[in-house]
Symmetry: C2
Subunit: 206 residues, 2 copies
Amino acid sequence: MNKIITISRQFGSGGREIGAKLAEKLGIPFYDNELISRAAKESGFAEAAFENAEKKASNSLLYSLAMGMNAYGNQDIGFTHLSLDDQLYLAQSNVIRKVAEEGPCVIVGRCADYVLRDNNNVVNIFIWADIEARKKRAIEQYHLKENKAEEEILRSDRRRANYYNYHASEKWGKAENYHLSIRSDYIGVDPTVECILNYLQCGERE
Amino acid sequence: MNKIITISRQFGSGGREIGAKLAEKLGIPFYDNELISRAAKESGFAEAAFENAEKKASNSLLYSLAMGMNAYGNQDIGFTHLSLDDQLYLAQSNVIRKVAEEGPCVIVGRCADYVLRDNNNVVNIFIWADIEARKKRAIEQYHLKENKAEEEILRSDRRRANYYNYHASEKWGKAENYHLSIRSDYIGVDPTVECILNYLQCGERE
């Protein structure tokens, strides 16, 4: 299996766990926060800045304007006319392209599907789940409060959608952007991993 | 397997063939044009009117206005204040609900996923494919001319999207509307059928 697999996911859908298990089954690297660290090291950005980029993208225009003004003093990475948000995105994109060149891997989030859109070796997956299942998962695994869980989940999805729509100029969660989109709570995490593996294996044969 | 399976599909993606093969494998009824005939018989509409409804939905507003004016003389089916387009949709929806009540089946197109949205026994599938694969299929199977194929495919998709967006007030092709969305040309028709079967079986166990 010589593929780069990107996973986009709704908050609380189990997408990250599914990606990690998939990478483990395939014996290939898994990039998530690891990707951030690597990008940070290579571009000279602080890790914290990367971690905040996606979180703060709730309102892309305001964020870009605000961060853009702060960024103009920064001469370190050679694209100082861009907002900090765009600089972070470009640095991340370089890292994504680099790990993809190194060989098969699983990359969760960060517009990797869009960054690698011209690479024929990429298979894009979208994971979503029913809101009730996501609430349950968010409460159990991320310890969200029961009365706040739905609000936080929907806010997180809006952030992810805004981040994607801003950088990729494409719609997050549009079926046509992914080889396979799966409602994970209907079958469970492990069967979802199997379902993706099965799709990948069929793709190898085709 | 006690499920109603709805299949939405891009033109040329093989969705209809996949639905038919799925129904055959499961040994359950398959509804497509058959559904039209049945709806026509039960509501008193001519079959031709149903066949034209989806085709003509390219511009929903104009179509509704135009057809609505012609429809006001029709007293046959009891909802004469609606446009003909809406009357057709309601008659179709009644048929879809009726066949779903009768037991497991596969229904292709006609907003069946939306019509049956409150039925917990329904699994919704979306089939799409790369434009080059769809052109090849459309030329081979539907005998479209090579220089017209792409235009006709995209026009057909716009019709389907308009029809869905108008009646369902939802976005056609949004991953979150389907349990499973599959790019069929990447693995082929038969593996896509297997992939759906596998998902359904896992859902039974969950």
